[in-house]
């Protein structure tokens, strides 16, 4: 009896081990591909970041110089500040608006809701290049925005939005808000509909108003969706490139320069491949850290 049961255990264990190997076998090809197209270039970038290299001729080892100049060069350092502003516009504002609109939309079922959702989600499926070109037109000196402001007598508010040292960055940020807002809203609406209706009933029984209900039931129920939205929008803000490149090229002055634009300029316009790699590595590390922190926070009870 004992012998036969231990044999079963052994067999079962070896079976499990075999299935694990089979699984790895299936995953080998994609893993290999992943290593080839992601890990190897990542490692190369990491390596390049310690060299001064023009992309063609022999490189020189410079240790951490590229990283140091990323942090100490006033122009490059300013890109962090710009990204922080962009995070406000790309992540915090759309999430706040998304939560609000999801709460409003799910409370009362109105006819034509799907149409609203579709309209708000539309920017998410449009190419950034198209969006940037559209907004470049909207923000133009004689564009629709200024025309509208003048039409209602707010002439003094009309500005050269993208050419203004103060307003260019917020103007870019608002494009981001417009793009990510619909995504956050749809995510939160689907999240809210997955919350058990009993919870809402219970809350109402306890005498909770709509606001209390939102904070006590909806918000905790959306923790997973919040984590996803935060991760995606913050990393999108960190990686902002096409929007800036098409509208302002980082100007006026360097007031809308982002790390990604600085990276592109270093890699492809000025032969500073090492510096570009250092910027890339720092950005990748930041994205990873942000993703890990947000995942951790959202999984904690």
């Amino acid at each position: 009896m004992a012998a036969s049961s231990s044999a079963t255990v052994v067999r079962r264990r070896s079976l499990r081990r075999r299935t694990r190997w089979v699984g790895l076998g299936f995953a080998a090809l994609p893993l290999g591909l992943y290593a080839l197209v992601v890990l190897v270039p990542l490692a190369q970038s990491f390596q390049y970041s310690f060299f001064k290299w023009d992309g063609v001729t022999a490189s020189t080892w410079v240790g951490f110089d590229n990283y140091v100049s990323f942090v100490t060069d006033p122009v490059l350092r300013s890109t962090f500040g710009h990204v922080l502003v962009l995070i406000g516009f790309f992540a915090l504002l759309p999430i706040a608006l998304g939560l609000l609109s999801a709460a409003l939309l799910t409370r009362a079922k109105q006819p034509g809701m799907a149409v609203y959702r579709w309209i708000f989600f539309l920017p998410q499926v449009m190419t950034t290049v198209v969006i940037a070109l559209v907004f470049k037109r909207i923000y133009a000196p004689d564009g629709p925005l200024n025309t509208a402001l003048r039409a209602v007598g707010l002439d003094s508010f009309a500005k050269t939005w993208l050419g203004d040292f103060t307003w260019a960055l917020p103007a870019l940020g608002l494009i981001g808000t417009w793009v990510t807002f619909g995504f956050c809203m749809v995510l939160f609406i689907s999240g809210t509909s997955a919350i058990a209706p009993e919870l809402y009933e219970a809350a109402r029984m306890d005498g909770a108003g709509p606001v209390r209900e939102f904070f006590a039931v909806t918000l905790p129920g959306l923790r997973g969706q919040l984590a996803v939205a935060l991760t995606l929008t913050i990393t999108a803000a960190l990686r902002t490139f096409d929007l800036v490149w098409i509208t302002t090229h980082g100007g006026p002055g360097t007031s809308t320069l982002t790390p990604a634009v600085a990276l592109y300029k270093a890699a492809f316009q000025n032969p500073q491949v090492g510096l570009a790699a250092a910027i890339g590595v720092v950005m990748a590390a930041l994205c990873l850290v942000i993703a890990v922190v947000i995942t951790r926070l959202s999984e904690r009870d």
């Binding site: 022999a58 040292f165 032969p271």
Partner: protein, 449 residues
Amino acid sequence: MSVRKAIAGVAAGLALSLGLTACSPGGGSTDKAEAPSTVSTDVASAGAVTLKFTDFWGAAEGEWIKQVITDFQKKYPNVTIQRTTEDWGQLNSTLNLQLQDDGGPDIATANNGWQSLGTLAKGGLVLNLDAYAKAYGWDKEVPTTIARQNQFTTDFKTMGSGSWFSTPMARTSLIGLYYNADKLKSLGIDPPASLADLETAAAKAKAAGEVPFEYGSLDSSTTVLLGVQALLADKKKLNDYIYDDPSVKAADVGMTEAITLVKKWADEGYYPKNYQGIDYQTAVANYVGGKGVFRWEYTGSLGLNASQQGHYGYIQLPQQSGSGTVGVGAAPGAMVVSSKSKHPDVAAAFLDYMMSAETGQAAVDRGLVPALSPDAKAPASSLSLTGESAAAAKLDSDDGYVPYFDWSSPTMLDTIGANLQLVLAGKMTPDKFTEAVDKDRDAFLAQQS
């Protein structure tokens, strides 16, 4: 936990791939700087030769180069040239890779300056053309200020002297002043013949309610600054500054005066209202559409059609000091021969043909500005092309070219573009602007040595 495991996995992968690539990047052979010793200018007896040629020319320029290739092949039936065209940015960022490939082009258009040509020459990817320069007499035929644009010393510390690594062509791209002829006529102003004339004309245009200069600074257009600088700076000093002579400073080459004037024009309201929000394309479209009287522009960039060419004129204003005409100009591309080319003699013969008078005439015939061919004839109906051709001929004979200012360092275009916006917004003084220019170039020089 899964996150930790994932990180460990990525780290292990990184370490592994780092091990695989653990030698320093680059290290392309730098010992190819020697010129080929025996060269031949005899193309007819070279046998059947096929050359691959990559360039960044489209539209009228594309038509022109097709014509040049056809003519060359007619002259030498044993030669076939396979042309590929790529967009300018695309070719610039990939040319170094293409030239390292055995199947890459024999001839290509590079961009002058350190970013592109200097790096390719230093990396030994393009041929030293000194022997051909001697064989074809380029040293004598090409004006010095144009020849310098193609030269580097073989230790690659200095640009603007030493060996030929590329050649120009019978075409040029200048920065100068365009004027709307109809507007000038209705304002009763003659085309200006000096900077002082221009300022008077601008004031008059402004008083008449016109925009004197059509300009937009949204994407840091610097043509106005560089165009003005060429009128104020000493030719030799400006050339030396751009070719990285550390003893010349930006203040010696009219930079402060030029930026001060550009800012003054802004303060006088000579640019369109809201010019900070107007991008380059919009400004060009506005000007061609009839807004503004004058515009500082690269030749060929307005894209004037045949009938518009009769209504816009072009002037290369003489120097303020009265010592001849100096203008920013260069060939629209630097012709290079790949070090991997199996037929460098034939490739060099094609480069020589690109500097010929036939090539210049083929350019004018397509509305492009000719150079190195003083007899090229522009159609009389084209006011702008007549002006542009005359300007190029004048600069050829005065040997008055200065290269684009941003050749002085790889980051210079960014620096002057961004700081120009600061000056125009009143956030930087002209002196500080000049300092920033020096700082950029000196940082580059320090890194070179």
